[in-house]
């Protein structure tokens, strides 16, 4: 009785998976390629947002193929050693059952290795984890599935994965697919559920099947019937819909009090709320004078947000909220509003997620140079990196020397050169780094010291 429905109704076979036909087909094809010896791609990367069915598909495939599986994830310490210990043992000697028990190699079944959250290889603590994954794929004689939310993050840390693994992309499910799964679940549970509730949960989930199944279990379990009124305790997962009502109330307000009250119940921090308002001022206030006044109020509000952060004095938040709501709403001069307004999702959030890759690369390089340059990551990011990027494009020797001294990986070099991680230029530099390291091994000592002092001299002018 304590079972979670997300587990209880997890599809047992690929044929039971709803939606994502293309991804499921690709996965099945990859699985079947193992029937005739070791295929070209020993690994496949399943990419997609939460609740789109990646883990379910991996488990269903193992079931369909009659494979055992071993699962690892980010809550295990995922350094190089532990990945090799678990995956290496499982893949090379066929020695673990699904529960991790030792099996004799004679039992001969294939063992699927599932590396969940493969994009979550944390900074220093999981050092070497990415490399270990690549090596595991190369050495493995067993199928490997990598599961990621953020493909970019993984391919940046381990660019070789692009060439070593097949891939399948899971997309958010449409409301109809989600609703059909919910209907079949409640039918099996013998609960009578109003279809309006099913629809509401399906839409609210934003295509996240796990969220939808959790929601329906939360509302329906233990009941024999579920009507519309029961669904109001549910937290809104779909931000746009909830924001829509709040923004409409706020922009339509004619008093400071009402404008503030319209957003009072929202589950958004002022720092997030201001981005929604910022994005949508031009939708509501279309003449230049109004827009200028509105943005002026928003700018004042932003100052209070900055002050709140700087002083850690949350008393100032209320001024920020009042100026971003009331200040903006009251910038309207003419009483009539545009007939129809479609509110938009803040461009800022989209930009931020797009910039996440480059930002991570920049942080990585800055972090590696920090000790060498005796200064902060922030200072390096802001003033040193732009200069360094220009410099290394013209001075390859400097780049190779830095890369080998400071332990740059392909992603770091690619960032400095402004190239793709798997480009020719990056590969050449990394090869040269490897050669120079090999040379070092032969002639350790004097040369190493010489080179170290050279690195320091070259960079001292950036400080």
């Amino acid at each position: 009785m304590l079972e979670e429905w997300t587990e209880k109704y997890r599809p047992k076979s690929l044929s039971q998976i709803v939606g994502n036909e293309a991804a499921v087909r690709a996965l099945r094809r990859w699985g079947e390629s193992w029937e005739h010896g070791t295929p070209r791609f020993k690994a496949i990367t399943l990419r997609g947002e939460p609740g789109t069915g990646k883990t379910s598909a991996a488990l269903a495939l193992a079931n369909d193929m009659g494979w055992d599986f071993i699962e690892m994830n980010a809550s295990d310490h995922r350094n190089a050693a532990s990945i090799k210990k678990v995956a290496g043992a499982g893949s090379v000697t066929h020695a673990f059952s699904a529960s991790g028990e030792f099996l004799s190699a004679a039992e001969g079944r294939r063992k699927l290795i599932v590396l969940d959250e493969a994009d979550n290889l944390f900074g220093r603590e999981d050092y070497g984890g990415a490399k270990a994954i690549v090596e595991t794929i190369r050495e493995s004689s067993q199928p490997i599935i990598l599961i990621v939310n953020d493909y970019y993050e993984l391919s940046r840390k381990a660019p070789a994965i692009k060439t070593l693994s097949d891939k399948a992309v899971f997309r958010r499910l449409d409301g109809r697919s989600v609703a059909s799964v919910l209907r079949s679940i409640v039918q099996k549970e013998g609960i009578l559920v109003d279809d309006a509730v099913i629809q509401r949960i399906a839409v609210n989930s934003g295509g996240d099947m796990r969220a939808a199944v959790n929601d329906i279990q939360m509302m329906a379990e233990g009941k024999s019937a579920l009507g519309e009124a029961d669904s109001t305790a549910m937290g809104e997962r779909n931000r746009l819909k909830e924001m829509d009502a709040a923004l409409r109330g706020m922009f339509g307000a004619t008093s400071l009090k009402d404008a503030r009250a319209a957003t009072f119940d929202l589950d958004e921090t002022p720092d997030d709320l201001i981005k929604w308002i910022e994005e949508n001022i031009p939708q509501e206030l279309r003449n230049p004078a109004e827009m200028a006044a509105a943005f002026d109020a928003l700018a004042r509000s932003d100052i209070y947000l900055g002050r709140t952060r700087a002083l850690q004095h949350y008393g100032l938040w209320s001024y920020a909220k009042e100026l971003m709501t009331g200040g903006v709403a009251l910038a309207r001069e003419r009483p009539q509003r545009p007939a129809t307004v479609e509110y938009r999702f803040p461009g800022h959030f989209i930009l931020m997620s797009r910039a996440r890759g480059p930002r991570a690369a920049r942080d990585s390089v800055a972090g590696k140079l920090r000790a060498h340059l005796h200064t902060s990551k922030k200072c390096i990011s802001e003033s040193t990196l732009p200069l360094l990027a220009t410099l290394v494009k013209n001075d390859r020797e400097l780049l190779v020397s830095l890369a080998s001294e400071q332990g740059f990986d392909d992603g770091d070099v690619a960032f400095l050169l402004g190239e793709d991680t798997d480009s020719r230029a990056v590969k050449d530099v990394m090869d040269e780094v490897k050669r120079s390291k090999a040379a070092d091994d032969v002639d350790e000592g004097a040369r190493g010291q010489q080179r170290a002092s050279r690195g320091k001299k070259d960079l001292s002018r950036f400080r």
């Binding site: 009785m1 959250e117 939310n149 939360m218 997962r237 001024y319 100026l323």
Partner: protein
């Protein structure tokens, strides 16, 4: 028994929880079926998140509830090592006391770093057999999406005035203190939907007098009465800066109030002043500026004077 009233009167049964009717109803159903999903409680301070978690555990496990509920505060221990170490150890150990699973209540989960949250998400799935998580936070957006997806999300709304009043009356009756109507109104105004704050105000006021009214509330909490502030602001709006200032001086001397207390009082009063809405926005900005400068170390008196001068100036525009 002498105790802090917040604890003494924390509802022990779900049915005694104030407000949050829909949430309480769902939680009671979990008790009946003896099953529950992972949950995320999102809502402002004093809206009942911790209370609901504890009441749920009490009803689920009976007298031995303390063995089956583990409370952790994420803002005390927020690194990834805690998730990988402490939380995982708790989660992994089978529950004691005969129940099928135990509950880990992780308060202020939004203060966990995002790396720690990422590690937490898998722990949640893996140890479903032995435990359930209840995470609490002020804003759900501070919790990474994969965790939200694994939880039933409950939104706790700030409590309305009738709910706050009900609760205060319940305590007053049990403690044999008499609270006048204007006393209740004053507490509600100061607490702004935060039940913990309201309870604390009541206890402090009751420690000074057994009969509580507006005056004793404002006196015990070192707040000015709204009427007094309003009068000063109206004097300033009327153009008499010096008169307003000397009344303010008088107030400060009489009550020993800090500049921040007064600014907070002025802030609350702005919304009901007889000025245009545009003027209110300008004044709120001025009040915020004064608070910011005081917090940054400026002289309280000069900032308050400058503020009053702005009110006088705004008053002149009115004419």
């Amino acid at each position: 028994m002498q105790d802090v009233w917040v604890e003494k009167y924390r509802p022990k049964k779900l049915s005694d929880v104030i407000g949050q009717k829909n949430i309480v109803e769902r939680l009671s159903a979990y008790v009946k079926t003896r099953s529950m999903p992972h949950m995320l409680f999102a809502g402002p301070a004093g809206s009942g998140k911790t209370t609901c978690a504890i009441a749920l555990a009490r009803e689920m496990y009976g007298d031995g509830w303390r063995d089956s509920l583990i409370e952790l505060n994420a803002s005390d221990e927020r690194g990834i090592d805690v998730v990988r170490g402490k939380i995982k150890d708790f989660a992994r150990a089978a529950s004691i006391g005969g129940s099928d699973f135990k509950i880990i209540f992780l308060d202020e989960a939004d203060s966990l770093t995002s790396d720690a949250q990422a590690a937490l998400r898998r722990t949640m799935e893996r140890y479903t057999q032995t435990c359930r998580f209840i995470l609490s936070c002020n804003y759900s957006s501070k919790i990474i999406e994969p965790i939200q997806s694994r939880c039933a999300v409950f939104r706790f709304r700030p409590l309305g005035e009738p709910d706050v009043r009900t609760y205060l009356k319940r305590i007053a009756a049990a403690e044999h203190v008499e609270v006048a109507e204007d006393g209740l109104a004053a507490i509600c105004r100061l607490a702004a939907g935060d039940l913990r704050k309201a309870t604390n105000i009541l206890q402090v006021a009751a420690s000074l007098a057994k009969k509580i009214d507006e005056d004793s509330i404002f006196e015990s909490t070192e707040n000015i009465r709204p009427a007094e502030i309003e009068e000063i602001l109206k004097t300033a709006l009327g153009g008499s800066f010096t008169a307003a200032r000397s009344r303010l001086d008088d107030l400060i001397a009489r009550h020993g109030l800090s500049g921040e207390d007064i600014v907070a009082g002025i802030h609350r009063a702005v919304f009901d002043l007889p000025v245009s809405e545009d003027a209110k926005v300008r004044l709120v900005d001025r009040v915020g500026e004064a608070e910011f400068r005081m917090v940054s170390g400026a002289s309280e008196r000069i900032q308050l004077e400058a503020l009053l001068a702005h009110f006088a100036h705004e008053g002149k525009r009115l004419k």
